[in-house]
Every structure is written in C-alpha cells, then in structure tokens.
Amino acid sequence: MTSWPSIKHKATELALVMVSTALMVAGYEGAIALAHRRVSAEPSGLQKLLDFAPMSIGARVSMDAVGRGRDSYAFIIVVSPDCVHCRAAAPFFRTLIGEAGRRGVPVALALPDRVRDKSFATTLGARGVPVVDWVELGVKPLGTPMIALVDAGGTVLKYWAGEPSQAAKRELMNAVRQPSAIVNRPRSLPSGQPMVAESDLQGALGGFPVTIVNTLERPLFRGTRYDYPAVNIPLDELRFRSRQELDPAKTQVVDCTFLGIAMCDRTVNELRVDGFRVVAMDNSGSAEDHGGTKEDGK
C-alpha cells in the first residue's frame, strides 16, 4: 500500500509536470524558469508571468512601474543575477546605461526581485535608474537578457534578446544615441536598394572581401566614434576619388548609419555609376535575426 508521503510526493511531481507543460504550451522559454529558481518558487509571481502576453513587438509594457510615460521612447533592460549571459554582458549594460544617462534617454531595469537583486542593479551602474520587478512590467520577457525599446505608451517597438553580439551592441549604442532613427528609418533607399544591418552583412555577402565607405564630411567623421575601420571619402569628392582609392574587386559597403537617406542613396548611386558592387549598411535601425521591429512585424 502506498504511504501518504509517497502520494504527496507524487502529487507534487504531477503538479510540477503540469506546470512545465503549461510553460511549453504558453511558449515561455523553460530556461527562464529554470535559471530563475527563486521566481519559480514563488507561485504567485510565476503564475502572473504566465498569464501575461509575451514581451514581443506590439506588446504593451506597464509604464506605471517604469514611470517614464511622458518621454517619447524608453529602453527596458530585463536581466537576472542568476543568468550567466546577463553577468557576461554586465559591462556592456553599464556602458549602455551610462550613455543613455548622458543622452537623457530613459532606461529602466527589470529584475526578478528588485529588493533581493539590488546589488546586481548596482553592478550595472543603475544609480538613479528605475528598477522594477519583472511582474510589474505586465508582460512576459522572452528570455534574459532582453532589451526592449518602447514608446511613450509602453508599446514594444523593437527588442534584442539574448547576450548582445558585437553588431547588436553597436546597434544598441546607436539606438540609445538616436532612438527615433531606429523606429522611423525606412528599410530601403528611394532607388530600391535595400539597407542591411551590420549583423546581416555576413550572410548577405557570403565572405566576399569588403571596404566600408563612409561619406560624412571630415569633421563629422572625426567626431563620430566607429568600431570598425572605414574609408572616409566625403560625398562631393567620391566621384573623383572612388576609382583611385577603392578596390573594384571588393564589395563597397556604404555606411549609412549616420547619413540621411538621400545622402546614402546618392552615395550608392555614385558608386554604382562608377561600376562598383555596392551594399548599403544601416546599423541604426535594422532588424536582427534575434530581434525585430514593429515595421517588419517580426
């Protein structure tokens, strides 16, 4: 005959299996629950999260907790001290939060438990930054770490999930410098040439050798910090210099990140007229494989 503790144990096991199944059905990444055991241990918090809509494009984040509803845009960084990737990306988050602070762009930090995880928030340099519990966001994070760009109403416009790659880091820094560009940027040039993100370039070019061409005026180019080597030829000099300085055997990648659309289009045209193979790169607001924007409905 089965003893009472054994039945109790089996019932607990059954409950756990049901919860796990519910997690899978809801599409919630089981890794989150496993990585954040303390949240799992709090059925009420977990239950709340399960009821929430996923924090994907178009989802509404509760701005009451974030407290920045009056600003046009805000970034929400969802992290956990128990997440290895969050710890690995901590120095970058610290830089990002610092840059946002200098630019006056609101940032909020979402942690499983803001009281318990206070020290982790401090590690991220989140002094003066609103820190909220995950459940207060009113949406279910897709994973950790996750960074979401939301509008004044809390609607998720774009997100970056997982530990940010180098390209994603650059894109995020650009996004913090000019959040509106990331939302309003068109996906192609007036001439029909598509614009690709730096992170998509590798796949698009298939390992072809490239030269990155930047056509900003000299003072602007010097005043902008770039993380990759680029040939600076101001646009009005391009037609005179392109054949002398650029290798026709290489694909010319026009860096349109800090260029206006018209200027980018002209640069691409100029190079194509001169017989170069050209790709327009926009690292300010293009979608990434691991993220999405409102425009592309990812």
Partner: protein, 161 residues
C-alpha cells in the same frame, strides 16, 4: 549757446544709426562666400599651375592625395588655400604654392553676385606611375573624361538595378 554748438543727441543717434544701416549691406556682401560644386569652380579656372612632385617623396616612393579648399575673390584672384586632407606636409606646401598662382574667371560687373567670393575643393593625386612622378588634378581629369562638360551628382545617370 551750448545747444547751438552741439546738435541734439537724438539727431546724433539718428545719423549714427543711418550710417550703420547704410554700411550693413556692403559688409554683408563682401563677407558672403558662395560654396561651389567642386567641378563647377574648377571649370572657371583660367590659369592653372600643377603642383610639383617633391624630390624627397620620390626617393621615399611616397604618393597620396591632397585636398584643399580654395577661396576666390570676385576678380578671380585666389584669396586663400586651406588644407583639408593631406598625406604629406611637403606635398601640401607644394599644392598651396601652386594653387595660389591660379586665376579664375572674374564675376561679371553687371552680375548681382559681383561681390560674392567663391569657394570650392581641389583634389590632387601624387602618384608614381612606372617610376615616373605624376600629379593628377582629379577634378580636371573628371571634367575631361566627360568631354569637357561639368557634371553634377544629380546629372549623372543611375544604372538600372
């Protein structure tokens, strides 16, 4: 008595203001610089002197680009030459010395823009081709390549994608 010797302050103020206002348009005109498209200004050059290839660079097998901004007075004389980009200080000096001797078409006296100074870029490529030192006036070469016609970015046709 004093009143008759010195005009009223209001009158002096009016005179000063009138004088100031009348001098304003002239001052504004003489300080105005029209930024020309690179090829358009180059096409107005009537006397040109090519920079010399510095001997030191020959021995070092050195070459590169020098870009300068030239400002031209309404009478066509070169007023200033400013370095924008250069691979070598001696080459820059050579370019400045040569461009200072250039002459441009004077703005016609009847032109409403007769007081305007013009400014634009000039680009020179110092290159050793088969061991021979060559200085190429890149803008002139482009105009020549287009049959002497000054083309702009917008007038250049775009190929079909």
């Amino acid at each position: 008595m004093i009143n008759s010797l010195f005009p009223k302050p209001r009158l002096i103020g009016c005179c000063l203001l009138g004088g100031l206002l009348s001098s304003l348009p002239a001052a504004a005109q003489s300080d105005t610089v029209a930024r020309y498209p690179t090829a358009a200004l180059r096409a107005e050059a009537t006397v040109t002197v090519l920079p010399t290839y510095p001997q030191d660079m020959l021995s070092l097998n050195k070459g590169g680009l020098v870009v300068v901004r030239v400002t031209v007075a309404p009478d066509g004389q070169v007023q200033s030459v400013q370095d924008l980009e250069s691979f070598d200080a001696v080459a820059s000096h050579s370019v400045r010395a040569a461009v200072s001797q250039w002459r441009f078409r004077a703005t016609p006296k009847e032109s409403p823009l007769r007081e305007l100074r013009r400014t634009g870029k000039l680009l020179f490529l110092f290159r050793l081709a088969d061991g021979h030192p060559t200085v190429i006036d890149l803008v002139a070469a482009d105009i020549e390549a287009h049959g002497g016609k000054v083309t702009t970015m917008l007038s250049r046709s775009s190929p079909q994608p």
